[in-house]
């Protein structure tokens, strides 16, 4: 059986069913997938259990998903979150 993948900023990321998006990214050495709203600093997994909200990521166009909780699914489109993830709403 071939391994499932999801896309992350255009790259294909393999995962094992049952893994979160954050776990799959960590397994391939990706450490951060968000820039903070203020200083634009990189962030990734911190608490790993859904408490700290540091690992926010965009999944299928929806920002502010917790990468540590959201289970990876084949064909998912995942991307880095810039700031609030709602840059399209800025005036």
């Amino acid at each position: 059986m071939s391994q499932p993948h999801f896309s992350f900023d255009g790259s294909q990321i393999p995962f094992r069913p049952g893994q979160s998006v954050g776990a799959a990214l960590t397994a391939v050495g990706v450490r951060s997938w968000r820039s903070t709203r203020g200083a634009g600093r990189p962030r990734g997994l911190f608490c790993g259990i859904g408490v700290c909200f540091d690992c926010l990521i965009v999944v299928d166009g929806r920002p502010n998903e917790r990468a540590c909780l959201r289970l990876a699914e084949p064909g998912m489109e995942v991307s880095t979150q810039e700031g609030t993830g709602h840059g399209d709403l800025e005036v």
């Binding site: 059986m1 094992r16 069913p17 049952g18 893994q19 979160s20 776990a23 799959a24 960590t26 397994a27 450490r31 951060s32 903070t36 709203r37 203020g38 200083a39 600093r41 990189p42 962030r43 990734g44 997994l45 911190f46 608490c47 790993g48 259990i49 859904g50 408490v51 700290c52 909200f53 540091d54 926010l56 999944v59 502010n64 998903e65 540590c68 909780l69 959201r70 289970l71 699914e73």
Partner: protein
């Protein structure tokens, strides 16, 4: 959507870790119509965290070696088929109706968000705890993780957080984290425990009554020895360095008063730093319901409970870390008692009471031996991030205090935005209380009615008010 009658229970248990699993199985055994709800994908909580059930995916068998006392876990899980189960359901608040309580959940199965309400005459809250953190220079770099987060990646996803890991902080939990990493192929470059190893000798009475727990520690120590992992006592990480991720950390020795010894800096290359300073119980729901609290020996805000795990609020029982951090064995006993009494059992077996008393003494002894050493506030620079969500630096809090405009969490939140972000002070609440010189108040120092999980307005809009029920009591 289940019908209304299917959503009414005698006992509803929040949390499916050791305490919650024990409470749900013992309530069902006592004849109560019981439900269990948990944000996780599978029963076990943090301690017995298991991978999401899947075909051809990460299996429970491959993470079994990372676990302790799986026999108890399997015994408890065997009782679950008789319990209505709601996994990947996040409780965001609890209100009351005439017959008891309304538990408001967000169903996040399949990545969606759907509001759900469950009704129950009685509640057993077993929300568990998460790693307590104190800020230090560079702790906001990717690759700096909580010890529990590193363990969760291993147990829940079969993923090793990094190749070169340093484990630091204080408490017995650091040992299984380091052992699990080493057994899974990571190079653990050191375990830096801030406490002095002989500290528990002064608590010998409590320790002797819990030789089983000591055996558990000795097992981890053997793993660390086999992998030649250096364990340094009275050592602390003072800073993490790197550009876009952690590359090095600097450690320092602590003297017998827990103060850093000048000139003892050592810098070591790492790609992950796993750090934890004990645990913070998750008190949002007990606080929202008005349960009475106290500050425990470890400085954590915990619930007051009586001998039968009743909180100060009629019909609400609390079990596990939320009434005092004490580990899985204690949580299981407390859950057993809470579940049975919530289901109407008239008495508690004396054996359970004795076991709870001994395990609590052991937990208190461990807390006294593993304090957060003083002096960490002095090591913060003005640009050290304290609140990670809102990027509030230490300097903002310091100048607020100097200007004498605020001294409590609520003022600090309004003036600096500390604790105002997504996590609602779960991560920085303890540290901010210490910086402000206030007694720890959990998240309650920052909000009167903390929301236990954020939800979208869309999900809120799908939440229907319950027919014929009065508005929530104040």
């Amino acid at each position: 959507m289940t019908s209304k009658s299917e959503r009414r229970f005698d006992v509803l248990v929040v949390g499916a870790g050791p305490a919650g699993l024990a409470a749900a199985t013992s309530a069902t055994r006592a004849g109560a119509r019981t439900a269990i709800v948990d944000a996780g994908v599978a029963p076990g909580g943090q301690y017995w965290r298991h991978p999401a059930p899947s075909e051809h995916g990460v299996s429970a068998a491959e993470v079994a070696h990372l676990h302790h006392d799986l026999a108890t876990y399997h015994r408890l899980v065997a009782g679950l088929p008789a319990v209505a189960q709601f996994f990947q359901h996040h409780v965001w608040t609890v209100t009351r109706d005439r017959r008891g309580f309304v538990v408001h959940l967000v169903d996040r199965t399949g990545g969606g968000e759907q509001a759900v309400e469950l009704h129950s005459r009685r509640l057993v809250l077993a929300p568990g705890a998460y790693d307590r953190q104190i800020p230090f220079r560079g702790w906001d770099l990717p690759g700096v993780m909580t010890a529990g987060g590193v363990q969760a990646l291993l147990k829940g996803h079969g993923v090793v957080a990094g190749q070169r890991v340093l484990v630091a902080g204080t408490g017995p939990f650091l040992l299984p984290v380091a052992a699990g990493l080493a057994e899974s192929g990571a190079r653990v470059v050191g375990v830096h425990e801030a406490a002095s190893p002989p500290a528990w000798l002064s608590e010998l009475g409590a320790v002797i009554r819990n030789v089983g727990k000591l055996g558990e520690g000795a097992g981890y120590a053997r793993v660390l020895a086999r992998h030649r992992i250096p364990v340094r006592a009275r050592s602390v990480v003072v800073s993490a360095h790197g550009t876009d991720a952690v590359e090095r950390v600097t450690t320092m020795r602590l003297d017998h008063q827990g103060r850093v010894v000048p000139g003892t800096e050592r810098t070591v290359a790492v790609d992950v730093l796993a750090v934890g300073w004990g645990f913070t119980p998750q008190l949002e729901l007990p606080l929202a319901l008005g349960c009475a609290t106290r500050v425990d020996v470890d400085g954590s805000l915990v619930c007051e409970v009586d001998d039968e795990q009743r909180s100060s609020v009629e019909g609400v029982f609390v079990a596990g870390e939320a009434c005092g951090v004490g580990g899985a064995a204690l949580a299981t006993v407390e859950g057993q008692i809470a579940g049975a009494v919530a289901a109407g059992a008239s008495s508690v077996a004396p054996r359970l009471r004795r076991s709870r008393a001994a395990l609590r003494r052991f937990a208190q002894a461990m807390h006294r031996s593993h304090p957060v050493p003083p002096g960490w506030v002095d090591r913060l620079s003005d640009d050290t991030t304290v609140c990670r969500c809102e990027e509030v630096p230490f300097g903002a809090l310091r100048s607020m205090q100097q200007d004498l405009v605020g001294h409590d969490g609520r003022s600090a939140k309004m003036l600096t935005r500390v604790g105002m972000g997504y996590c609602q002070a779960r991560t920085c609440g303890y540290a901010v209380s210490c910086i402000l010189g206030q007694e720890p108040s959990g998240t309650s120092g920052f909000a009167e009615r903390p929301v236990s999980s954020p939800l979208t307005l869309g999900a809120l809009a799908t939440s229907c008010p319950t027919e014929n029920d009065p508005p929530p009591a104040e």
